[in-house]
Symmetry: C2
Subunit: 266 residues, 2 copies
């Protein structure tokens, strides 16, 4: 049996869910409340010592790190294959994923906490705020989290973070070609699974039309193809609670002017 400890909005959880969905693998859901600190629960930390989601458990064996979980799922459940068969294209896929994992993933935390969830967190008592970020084990992630909660869109981390997203979109616009709508050509792959949560996050933070639809037609076409996948609704959009999406949108609109200026300056 496959069990997934995950969160509806977590980028890395979404990467694994869409792969489970496209492979048609049945799974049991254990949702982790990230705002409530479920990722720091000692029982959960035994499964995932990095205090993050997702964690996949397959017949009692524990797998962490979304990119490596997806490689595992493609090794263990090879149909349909979600990695290119050709070693050259497979390397290109892994390089794209590595770039997103290293540059875009940390940036997603910065823009999400700095724009979307900051007003809610600032409304909490100071000791609750501090408890939330002080439990993040990685010092760099902890410092960035604190900075964006304190400074919002003015945080020094914000410029690099939005820049990382733009870099990803530029790379996608250059990589997606007329062979097919996907990052690695005509087949949906782990590269697309990896990019999905971040393009979706831009959409949730009201930057989609500005950064994709209008100016990057290949990314816009790619995003439409992703949303048309058979498992998209069950695994992605159907899991996202409307009041939280509305809060993201509202909080993003409130800093629209600063956000536009930041994007224009990059």
């Amino acid at each position: 049996m496959i069990e997934l400890y995950h969160n509806a909005f977590s980028s890395c959880s979404q990467k694994v869910r869409i792969v489970l969905g496209e492979k048609g693998i049945g799974w049991k859901s254990h949702e982790i409340d990230l705002q409530g600190g479920g990722q720091h629960d000692p029982e959960y930390v035994k499964l995932n010592p990095n205090h993050v989601v997702p964690t996949l458990v397959h017949d009692g064996r524990v797998f962490i790190e979304s990119t490596l979980i997806n490689e595992y799922l493609d090794d263990e459940f090879p149909n349909p294959p979600l990695r290119p068969g050709d070693p050259v294209e497979r390397h290109a896929m892994r390089l794209f994923v590595k770039h997103i994992d290293e540059k875009v993933h940390p940036a997603a935390g910065v823009i999400t906490y700095g724009i979307a969830t900051r007003p809610m967190i600032l409304g909490q008592p100071p000791e609750v705020q501090e408890a939330a970020w002080s439990q993040i084990p990685d010092p760099a992630r902890r410092a960035a989290r604190k900075s964006v909660i304190e400074n919002g869109i003015e945080a020094p981390e914000m410029r690099g973070a939005v820049g990382a997203f733009i870099g990803m979109l530029d790379e996608m616009e250059a990589t997606i070609d007329d062979r097919g709508p996907w990052v690695c050509g005509e087949h949906f792959s782990l590269a697309d699974a990896c990019a999905l949560p971040y393009v979706l996050r831009l959409e949730h933070l009201a930057m989609g039309s500005q950064l994709a639809a209008g100016v990057r037609p290949r990314v816009a076409r790619w995003f439409a193809e992703i949303q048309a996948l058979e498992s998209y609704e069950e695994m992605i959009s159907g899991q996202l609670l409307a009041p939280i999406l509305a809060m993201f949108q509202k909080n993003a609109e409130e800093v629209r002017g600063e956000l536009d200026a930041l994007i224009a300056s990059l």
Copy 2:
């Protein structure tokens, strides 16, 4: 034809060389002079936009990132296989490699520059020193490099870096078991290729006997097995120039007292 742009002492170059050697793949060497700034040469940067070694070129196609190069080599030249056939063990191997890439690799730069090459660099004119680190594109790596050159063993980065090495050795001591001498059991794998340069670096910085031989018998046995590999001399030890090894050893011995105190405090 396989060409490798690499450096004898570079950890990530060693990871790829030992894999080429163990697979018996012929290759053409292009050595990059890292102290002379060859990695920043505009012609080289066209191949490797991250300004690092190694870069592998196979029949004109370019591959970067040592871990992904090794996955490519195992995809393209599958014999002998250097990844476990079992998906569960393959995930464990990739998790070990990911941990080393993220935590130990940056730490290797810190201890090498802060202990072994610092006296030589401090003997250079200030503008040469500045030119060397100012070309590092990643801001975090650039700041760490500057700090350890300025502060040596007193740099705030040093404690975490030595701690990352100790964490790796502890993990190896726990992982290597009686099934076989290697990280993933009875067969040499990409996990061993990935760990090799860092255990070797401790040896070069005169920390080997203190951290492995005396106190971690499984790591010590593993290191003896690595050195007994058929390709070890050609690909690793035979490439390392004796005067540079002597300089590493001498500079490490000069901070022996501080280093011992740091290790004892961890």
